[in-house]
Chain length 352, copies 2
């Protein structure tokens, strides 16, 4: 029973612009440590590269190859078009199952941060155990605040010390409901980490998304062959954009959830960097070798070689890259997209 | 009766750092318009360059020469060491008087802004009239707010429609006193603009600062000669640093003041730029060709070719130069010196 890691590296958001760019998305950024998030993700797993499969888009494939020179060529799966997680995971599952029918997959986003690697691995082991019994397993993150930005999973029947059947997948709640969820102890965050036997998830695809399963099956047969790229493009063009949560997990009945507490962050905004990199005594997180902060509090600063002189600032995000400077209040760091939109509208694409 | 302009360009403050640098001080910055303040100052006067004398330090002399190629060589007076305004004005007065004994001097800082040039010139004409009668004249700025950062002049006996004898020079007041001054109508700001006959100010020097007068007199004799630089250095080393206000104006008794309202600003901080360059509808002053401001208010932004993305900011000063970025709240823009100090302490002199 081998465990394979399937790393989803197809993301292309703008929440970390201008650190991230269209050609250089979040998973390549050194947000959690001094290594890119993608490398952090791989390093914190115990799977060898031969059992690591990365799914990404065509623009980013060369960068992944360069970053992971020892990754077997067949283990980089290129999605011709981003179609959310269901097609990506399906493609990886079919490819792995064709070589190792008893494979267990652990599917993980490539751009999250986790502080306590030991606890995380322990959860993954428990999840693999449940997966080997036929469950489609999710890692549920024990909530630490009434977060309204995440989906939740309601715990069902106990399956072990920290595992349950799944009562329900729940959409992002409002503040009052999020508070209830937190207090009840019966809900966990859906962190997008799934563990299942390759055959089990493919069975679920055939049951809940038969058309997708069929198309992926024909496509997987040509992975590594000369006509793969053209066929993949044709197939993906016709696919709906659908998440594995919505397409399978919310519909299947052999679900399980392992609850974990391992210092997880999805790094959803610049503000969240403070969850991962410990702020200094003044609450500042400074990832900028030439920054001088004078009487500043609760700021997040990313910079390069240029000198930064910040005086008397509070609660600000400052991101200084070679060609663009971004400044936005930390509380509104979601508003980064407004900056991106402003640049889009003015057709300043070279900055995006 | 010729009027000569004496422009004091020896300043080297840090209030506009990092726009200004030790080698590139405020008078060279394009703060008031698209031209350097020094050029603005000269252009708003009606004196020809042959009647314009500039006093500056040795570091800045080459820049002044380059900026003003048609300025007669003898009209650039280099102070070897900055010793405040009394020696600078004295040196200019002696040189001009040696060629034109009846000269009237109008002495002006090189780094202020004035909006209403016509009114300003009209005040200067009135002042020159009084100066020709033997008065040492100051232009007094009619106060528009209870400013505690300026010296004041108390008006004495009326000499004309908008001119008075001087009752007293008054140090920077506290807030309550500044409010009284404003309401009384009997006080004006001392803007550091003086008009007098060269002979009159030299008489005053001989009376109130005889030692300085003596030294300047011997030095002036060698202006333009080969040994001037060495002699000037020797003389200036031995001089006290003293302002013309303190050394002469506060002691003389043939004083007059012309009160003017001409949109004057001494540009004492980044915040003051908003007095000179009209803010947009959101209160922002943006002197940055590639800045995108989204939902920002009351900000002052200086930038160059780099793109700036400012989102949701309020009351901030952002100055982006090629090698340094400064950010400071507008209300605390005096705190720029703290940034400068931080760089000094860390021996980062290349940025100063």
């Amino acid at each position: 029973m081998k465990v394979y890691s399937v790393i989803l590296a197809g993301g292309s958001g703008t929440r970390f612009w201008p650190l991230s760019r269209a050609a250089w998305p979040k998973q390549f950024l050194k947000l959690g440590s001094d290594a890119p998030l993608l490398l952090d993700t791989i390093r914190r797993l115990s799977t060898p590269l031969s059992q690591t499969v990365i799914v990404c888009g065509p623009t980013h494939a060369p960068k992944v190859r360069q970053m992971l020179k020892r990754l077997p060529k067949a283990n980089l799966i290129v999605e011709p078009i981003a179609r959310n997680t269901a097609p990506a995971v399906g493609l990886a599952a079919i490819q792995i199952a064709s070589k190792d029918p008893s494979a267990i997959l652990q599917v993980l986003p490539s751009d999250h941060a986790i502080r306590d690697v030991e606890r995380f691995r322990s959860c993954l082991r428990e999840a693999a155990q449940l997966a080997s019994q036929g469950h489609l397993v999710t890692l549920g993150i024990k909530p630490t605040r009434p977060e309204t930005g995440y989906g939740y999973i309601e715990l069902g029947q106990s399956l072990g010390a920290d595992s349950w059947t799944v009562q329900a997948f729940v959409e992002k709640p409002d503040a009052a409901r999020a508070q209830q969820y937190l207090e009840s102890g019966k809900f966990v965050w859906n962190g997008g980490i799934f563990i299942f036997r390759a055959q089990a998830i493919l069975d679920a695809y055939r049951q809940h998304m038969p058309e997708l399963a069929e198309k992926l099956s024909t496509l997987a047969a040509s992975i590594g062959k000369r006509d793969y790229a053209a066929r993949a493009k044709r197939v993906f063009k016709g696919l709906p954009s659908i998440s594995i949560d919505y397409g399978v997990m919310e519909k299947a009945n052999n679900l399980a959830v392992v609850r974990g507490e391992f210092g997880w962050s999805d790094l959803g905004s610049f503000a969240s960097v403070a969850e991962v990199r410990s702020p200094d005594a003044e609450g500042n997180v400074v990832v900028a070798p030439n920054a001088q902060l004078v009487e500043c509090r609760d700021c997040i600063v990313f910079g390069g070689s240029r000198a930064l002189a910040l005086v008397g600032l509070s609660g600000l995000v400052v991101v200084d890259t070679q060609d663009v400077l971004l400044m936005v209040p930390k509380k509104e760091s979601q508003a980064v997209r407004k900056a991106v939109q402003a640049f889009q509208q003015r057709r300043l694409r070279r900055y995006l």
